[in-house]
Subunit: 157 residues, 2 copies
């Protein structure tokens, strides 16, 4: 990891930009209500949800020392939302890195295609929801960062 670690709550600051300046990767604000009868967070198309997911996965019980993710997708869009606990999520173009401490369900991290992603420092109770724009396709994964850099260098500017 390189560079500063941003807390996702930072998005609540007036004037904070959700853009991570990483090829479209950005933080997304969800509508949230905390009441005595419970905490409710809502994301919907046009209001935080950038696509209609065709797949989701949930990651929990990850040892704090583990790093997960560490790949990019050629076409898939993803939205990461940490529903309980916290996790550090990173995005990269293979050269620069941005790290965000996802620590509340009201902020999601949108990861566009051809942006490298990795997650680490899961807290004990962390529950990470990942919404994906399409079904599983093994050919869509780039798991080697040198391959990722090479494919990016061939992308049109």
């Amino acid at each position: 990891m390189n560079g500063e670690l941003r807390a996702s709550r930072w998005l609540a600051d007036p004037g904070a930009s959700p853009d991570l300046e990483m090829d479209g990767a950005r933080l997304v604000k969800m509508h949230g209500v905390v009441e005595p009868r419970g905490r409710l967070t809502v994301g919907e198309m046009g209001r935080g949800l950038p696509f209609a997911p065709r797949r989701y996965f949930v990651i929990s019980q990850v040892p704090r020392t583990d790093i997960r993710g560490e790949h990019a997708h050629r076409r898939l869009q993803q939205l990461l939302v940490c529903l309980a606990g916290s996790v550090v999520a990173e995005v990269s173009d293979g050269r620069r890195w941005r790290a965000v401490h996802l620590d509340c369900p009201e902020v999601g991290l949108y990861v566009p295609p051809m942006v490298w992603g990795a997650q680490h420092d899961y807290s004990r109770e962390a529950v990470l929801l990942v919404l994906a724009s399409d079904e599983y396709d093994a050919a869509d994964y780039i798991r080697d960062i040198d391959t990722f850099r090479a494919e990016r260098s061939r992308m049109k500017p």
Copy 2:
């Protein structure tokens, strides 16, 4: 609540039927892997996810004494998945009730349109994910059970 309480893990039993015999309400099995490096659960279109969600909401920090839900939808489909802790989810046609103890992320509860739903007995750490087939529409909600029964009685058999 009336009738027996089914544990969602019951779906793992050989021969268990996911159908709750309540107008299409059913349990849905997701693919899950538990490894030393974490627990992963996946739902995707054609494999557990009955629709591409256009909205999601997450409910947590609910006092155990509280009842949530208690409404039906005219057109909306929903999938309830308890990602941490446990919750009791009920479905009803206004006459008969089915209760399921949702206690693992690998089992979802599909609630079709015109089936009444309620949730209670949230455990302290419960995180309930609800995936919805469409955006919010106030006119789609039926919040009064007598209205619900009346509308059902006018439905074609």
